[in-house]
């Protein structure tokens, strides 16, 4: 933003004594041939065209199209070729326009001029050039290499491209030599994966045959508003009632619950109790799937309340341990027992279990983070997910599926020649997130110590303030998005050099030394995105739709290339040499600059679907240009029962395909048992000791089956009488949309919410006791902090529970999001300042659901 032409500053025309002029002195403009008579010039009325790209406003990653006129995106729709969303976006898709054209976006690189850091301290940023910014970053990084401490460089990713991330997250730490690179994943919904993971061997997010389901059980999420396939759910939801029922289990009257055939307003955190009771009813009433689970050898149902069953009496098919599960957990978990825990009447539990049984293998239990992202969430996730196992709805018509995928190609291998001795040595050090400690098993994918513990990084930083000297992060805002947010502010204030690559200056940016303007990915970044929905996997392009604004650059590709050049100039060429070894799969050309690198990377990731060499079972695409034009590749439809095992006629042995220890669906998880044993062995202790250290109630055999664990609660009930629950808005674009006026104006589309406000929803009976009326300002206090919000009297939560949407409470992020940035005043309050940091330690996930926080309410 400096003047580039010095003559622009000179006295100019007036100084010339002669009348003759040589030419205007221009800085912002370039001469353009004048239009011929009748020739069309630019303007908003020009013809436009649809340019495909991908929305990353939630985890659905929908293929979309932007209508672009005169290099400006003016409208959004789902990609017309997409099978994941059938050509539609949800409400949040439209807000991309306001995000892209937000005047508060970061426009140019900036540096901090005030060395003091903290909330309420003005960073005093000033604009600098990309060159100056990356010189500063490269210098700091090289200082670490020279001091033989590259492990003090840390990278943390927020939202990322599933392919381009390999160029930053997957490459930079490895080549530079640090073990300290962390994903945001564990503050999202990772604990959910423990359900299908430790039963079915699938540690991933599921898909659903919504078009054919006869009973959809929405549990701990609101797929009409958020959670992985919103447009697909919106388009199919209404039809489910024509051929079955929708059941919603949620302490809050969500959009889905408001429409459901049955709403079970469960007491927060008691999901395991309800799941066990439903399983109990399904089994005692003989509604389990004979085809998937098997049957009693004599056909007589021995599952009677309280009665232990002989394991030998039952012959299983695709499953393992049904009787053990019954004996260890289910036999006493009657609806009457569960009614006391969950506050759901026993007759409703029975009624719902029967509806599910009637749906049978066409009943899909759609589990969300509300079940799992709690301090003991692994077991609740297993208990809820296991219902799909009993019903036999695994990969069946109307059932639940593992994810479909599209065939991406990997980038070239990072061979040893790019990793020097220092990087090899330092890269293997201990990670700062504490994964694998005795009390943090983090056993994602069956491997102890393999799961990221995102939110614990702040604790690691606080414990050892010297551990991170240079911190790079992209598309993140951990001091807002992590529970116990205040810890992050403390930790960030101590980081000597922090580089933030984001679209908007968030709360975390206030601690940055260098701010780099990132592209708004859906309209400005070149990348390949993959995901699945509606039984299809898809590969979808992200490409500039309209003109890229200001001086923004793509953080995972362009910026990495430029940084690699800077490091090379300082004698560390490995990163550059690796990137420069890439080849365009079509032309074999190697990249020579940042933008070529970005496009070549996108071509490498996607080339299998368009190069014509591989036989694709899904869409047929003729080449790169056609792929850019269509924007999406849809895989073939998921084959039913794809992973069901078969009896080998020759060997007479059952050959299972699930990726569990037994190759079967495990109600008694040998896979979990093995992981526990490995972790206990590493710490030279017992599994029970691990359970105790990690805060679980189970001991002995109970640890290996889906089961009920009492919810953990922060705050004494006497002092903090209300149980707090957090939920997501249908307008949240992962916490990034609050600076758009559409978010604020349309906030009322979240059931019970109010436009331009941040409301806490309180049952009117509770409000009456507290003397509160609608619209009163209240202070909410938990053991970890206080926030203020407006009281909203609402019957959609039961007495004793209060609900508040995540998203508001920004004191930074722009003029609309913050009430007054310059006074550091938030609009409403951030839920993450109320909720303390706690974990489902078996997965490493952050607790943010299940009512684990007690709160008191005061009128102010």
């Amino acid at each position: 933003m400096k003047i580039k032409r010095r003559d622009f500053l000179k006295a100019g025309m007036a100084a010339s004594a002669a009348m003759a002029l040589t030419g205007p002195s221009l800085n912002a403009f370039a001469a353009k041939p004048a239009p011929l008579a009748g020739e069309k010039v630019s303007g908003s009325t020009g013809a436009g065209k649809w340019i495909p790209s991908t929305c990353q406003g939630c985890t659905a990653w929908c293929p979309v199209e932007f209508f672009v006129q005169e290099e400006r995106a003016v409208k959004v729709r789902g990609n017309q070729h997409s099978k994941a969303n059938s050509g539609y976006v949800c409400p949040r898709g439209h807000m991309m326009l306001q995000q892209a054209y937000d005047p508060d976006r970061i426009k140019v690189p900036m540096k901090r001029t005030n060395p003091e850091k903290g909330r309420g301290i003005d960073p005093k940023f000033v604009p600098i050039s990309w060159d100056e910014a990356l010189d500063a970053v490269a210098d700091k990084m090289m200082e670490l290499r020279k001091a033989n401490e590259p492990e003090k460089f840390m990278y943390m990713r927020g939202r990322y491209s599933p392919t381009s991330t390999d160029l930053l997250y997957g490459t930079l730490p490895k080549i530079f030599g640090t073990p300290n690179y962390f994903s945001h994943s564990a503050i999202c919904a990772e604990a959910e994966k423990m359900g299908p993971g430790y039963t079915q061997g699938f540690f991933g997010y599921r898909d659903y045959d919504l078009a054919r389901t006869k009973c959809l059980v929405i549990w701990g999420c609101d797929p009409l508003s958020s959670n992985r396939q919103v447009p697909n759910t919106i388009s199919k939801f209404g039809d489910i009632f024509d051929h079955g029922a929708v059941i919603a289990v949620d302490p809050r009257l969500s959009a889905s619950a408001a429409k459901a055939s049955e709403w079970l307003p469960i007491k927060p955190g008691e999901d395991g109790a309800l799941a066990s009771a439903i399983a109990h009813v399904i089994m005692t009433e003989g509604m389990w799937s004979r085809e998937f689970v098997g049957d009693f050898k004599d056909g007589k149902n021995l599952f009677k309340a309280g009665a232990t069953v002989d394991e030998a009496a039952f012959e299983e098919k695709q499953t393992h341990g049904i009787v053990k599960w019954w004996n260890i957990e289910l036999k006493d978990k009657t609806p009457a027992w569960a009614a006391k825990k969950t506050l759901i009447p026993a007759d409703q539990i029975v009624r719902v279990a029967r509806l599910m049984g009637k749906g049978g293998s066409a009943c899909a239990v759609y589990m969300g983070p509300g079940v799992a992202m709690t301090p003991r969430g692994t077991y609740a996730a297993m208990a809820v997910y296991a219902l799909n196992g009993i019903l036999g709805s695994i990969e069946t018509e109307g059932g639940v599926f593992q994810s479909s995928s599209a065939p991406t190609a990997k980038f070239p291998e990072i061979s040893d020649k790019f990793i020097d001795e220092l990087a090899k040595k330092s890269g293997k050090g201990k990670k700062l997130d504490g994964r694998g400690a005795k009390d943090m098993p983090a056993m994602m994918s069956g491997k102890p110590g393999s799961g990221v513990v995102t939110n614990n990084v702040a604790n690691g930083m606080l414990k050892d303030p010297g551990a991170v000297k240079v911190f790079l992060s992209s598309w993140s805002n951990f001091s807002f998005s992590c529970t116990g947010a205040q810890r992050w502010e403390k930790a960030m204030a101590k980081v000597p050099f922090f580089v933030h690559m984001v679209t908007n200056a968030s709360e975390m940016t206030q601690f940055a030394d260098i701010v780099l303007p990132a592209t708004f990915a859906p309209t400005e970044k070149f990348s390949i995105i993959t995901n699945m929905a509606n039984l299809h996997g898809h590969m979808s392009i992200q490409q500039p739709a309209g003109k890229t604004l200001w001086q923004v650059k793509a953080e995972e590709t362009e910026v990495m290339w430029l940084l690699a050049e800077k490091l090379k100039a300082r004698g560390f060429a490995n990163l550059y040499d690796y990137y420069a070894s890439f080849e365009d799969p079509e032309t074999r050309k190697k990249p020579s600059n940042a933008s070529e690198f970005a496009e070549i990377a996108a071509k490498i990731s996607s080339h299998k679907v368009w190069n014509g060499k591989e036989k694709m079972k899904g869409d047929q695409i003729a080449g790169w240009e056609e792929f850019k034009k269509k924007g999406v590749y849809n895989s073939e439809i998921y084959a039913y029962k794809k992973n069901w095992g078969k009896m080998n006629a020759e060997t007479k042995k059952f050959e299972g395909k699930f990726k569990t220890e037994t190759k079967k669906f495990e109600f008694y998880s040998e896979t979990l048992k093995k992981a526990f044993a490995e972790h206990a062995e590493k710490h030279k202790t017992t599994i029970d000791d691990i359970l105790q250290a990690s805060g679980y109630e189970a001991r002995g055999e109970l640890a290996f089956v889906p089961h009920y664990e009492a919810p953990k609660r922060w705050g004494d009930v006497k002092e903090y009488p209300f149980t707090f629950i957090d939920y997501k808005s249908r307008l949240n674009r992962e916490g990034r949309s609050q600076n758009t006026t559409w978010y604020q104006e349309f906030k009322k589309v979240d059931v019970g919410d109010v436009s331009w406000e941040d409301v806490v929803k309180i049952n009117p009976l509770d409000a009456k006791k507290l003397g509160l009326k609608d619209g009163d300002t209240v202070k909410l206090t938990s053991p970890s902090g206080s926030i203020t919000a407006k009281a909203r009297l609402w019957e959609g939560v039961r007495p004793g529970t209060i609900a508040k949407c995540y998203g508001q409470g920004h004191w930074a992020y722009g003029k609309v999001a913050a009430k007054d940035y310059h006074k550091f005043l938030p609009r409403g309050g951030n839920n993450n300042e109320l909720m303390p940091d706690d974990y489902d330690r078996l997965s490493g996930s952050t607790a943010r659901n299940g009512g684990f926080t007690g709160v008191k309410i005061e009128k102010i």
């Binding site: 933003m1 000179k10 100019g12 009348m19 403009f29 970061i106 426009k107 140019v108 900036m110 006026t741």
Partner: protein, 239 residues
């Protein structure tokens, strides 16, 4: 604005001027727009002072817009004693970010009814630039309705106007005056007041407060075609 509108303005003013004197005055007016535009770029103390940016601006304004000149002189005074970092911090907060922009320097933020950039008014501005044979330079890396571009566009139109007079193309000169008036009335003048108000309120340094006053005084008080030489006045009357 139509040519009738322009004629009315001219008749209302009813002041004429020798053509040489007029051209001289227009050159100064054109330079004022350019130098004012320069003031909205990132402050570089050495460069600005070496080129005598504010002195030049003040002296040009003294002759064409004395009320604005006072503020330019004040700018010069404050700029000299201000630290470059402080000026840059203020500049960033007002016009760049990265947090809330105190004085968004984009026309569309004020004109399009939504708090956004690249609005419909931006597209109209681009259209006017293109009609005059201009496009935003690739190196500019800012938006077409940024204050610097709009002020520079006025400079360009005045340059073309003078050029036309010099080759005795009075009709063309009148047309360039008309385009200036149109651009000012449809765009720049529509948002310069709230923009300068925000600048004045948000500025930490006296430099930007004075720049706000200077810009406002110049744009509001000095209109194209307020004084015309006989040659142009007659030609205009014949239109």
């Amino acid at each position: 604005m139509t040519s009738e509108g322009l004629a009315m303005t001219i008749v209302r003013e009813g002041v004429t001027m020798d053509i040489k004197e007029f051209v001289c005055r227009e050159k100064k007016r054109g330079d004022c727009y350019r130098l004012l535009s320069a003031c909205f770029y990132q402050p570089e103390k050495e460069v600005f002072l070496q080129e005598g940016l504010f002195e030049n601006l003040a002296s040009l304004l003294k002759e064409v817009s004395p009320e604005a000149s006072i503020f330019a002189a004040e700018m010069q005074k404050v700029f000299l004693i201000s630290g470059e970092v402080d000026l840059n911090v203020d500049y960033a907060k007002l016009f760049v970010g990265p947090n809330e922009l105190l004085a968004p320097p984009y026309g569309s933020v004020y004109l399009d009814g939504e708090r956004r950039v690249m609005g419909d008014s931006t597209m109209e501005v681009i259209k006017m630039y293109e009609e005059q044979g201009l496009s935003i330079d690739r190196e500019f890396r800012n938006l077409p309705d940024h204050i610097t571009a709009e002020l520079e566009f006025m400079h360009y139109l005045i340059f073309r106007e003078i050029e036309a007079i010099e080759r005795s193309d009075i009709a063309a000169a009148l047309n360039f005056i008309k385009v200036q008036e149109l651009f000012l009335n449809r765009f720049l003048k529509q948002w310069i007041q709230p923009f300068c108000n925000k600048m004045r309120e948000g500025a930490n340094s006296g430099f930007y407060r004075s720049l706000a006053d200077c810009t406002l005084a110049f744009i509001n008080n000095f209109l194209p075609g307020d004084i015309l030489p006989e040659e142009l006045l007659n030609a205009n009357a014949q239109v």
